[in-house]
Symmetry: C2
């Protein structure tokens, strides 16, 4: 398992409820892909969302996001953390 | 105080020691700007670094990074967290 940071664009004006619903949609299917979404941060002004996850691969992260209806624009493995 | 996610590009091949040194350089001056850098994640393959901080403004975040020698390429306030 590794850690990944993924980025979504185009979510200008996202509300707390919408972020929660999107995160819950990920959590609902993540186990089937061996992924766990730990935390997400959103900037409604620029429409940017960052998601931190533990997963077996970037493809697995993307599969969860696709099944939840919100494909990521970028996914980076982040093996270094301080 | 608000939470911010900032992004640095161009750090291809960054090592754990280099990330630690960069983070320590931020920590050494952050108090003077009222900022606290909570965590940083790096992807050495793409050269991307993400930094999560608490700060009074994006400008304060940038001032710390500039003083530490590594200006951020993007800084987003992230008022929404799940």
């Amino acid at each position: 398992m590794a850690q990944f940071m993924d980025v979504h664009h185009g979510f200008e004006g996202i509300t707390p409820d919408q972020l929660r619903q999107a995160h819950d949609a990920d959590l609902a299917v993540e186990k089937e892909e061996g992924v766990h979404f730990e935390r997400s941060w959103a900037d409604p002004d620029s429409g940017t969302i960052y998601c931190l996850s533990e997963a077996p691969s970037a493809d697995a992260v993307q599969r969860v996001h696709e099944r939840a209806g919100h494909r990521a624009d970028e996914i980076h493995e982040v093996p270094l953390v301080v």
